[in-house]
Symmetry: C2
Subunit: 79 residues, 2 copies
């Protein structure tokens, strides 16, 4: 079962990587870029065929390892 975990910085948390991208886009001549936030996606291939169990497992993995819940939010989608 494929599960996708999206990890994004919480609103208000500084995103230096996103800022660097914004500056680089400006330097390349792209105007009108008002903000850039960068996050990550983790696609998990889980052995179980039970969608509810897969989602629960992925949620625990995100909570324990994939996301830093002090500064990041995550969402889990079964594909």
């Amino acid at each position: 079962m494929k599960v996708r975990v999206d990890v994004t910085l919480k609103p208000g948390v500084l995103d230096p990587q996103g800022e660097a991208v914004r500056h680089a886009l400006g330097a390349l001549g792209f105007d009108g870029v008002e903000g850039v936030r960068q996050g990550k996606v983790i696609e998990l291939e889980l052995a179980t065929d039970d969608a509810a169990l897969a989602e629960e497992q992925a949620r625990q993995m995100a909570d324990k390892l994939l996301a830093n819940t002090v500064i990041e939010n995550f969402s889990v989608t079964v594909l």
Copy 2:
């Protein structure tokens, strides 16, 4: 206008980051993880109100800067 760019490694390209996550999940006691691939998401806030233009701009940005199209695929979604 908010646009989301998803960048993922092409199939077949080695993903050491994903492998590291897989090992770490195993070490934490999560069984049944058969594969992990890690990608990134870039959320752009663009000045334009034209969805088609925003998508086209984001596509150019991804092609020139956000993705390494030799080893990565990207997809653009207007939010």
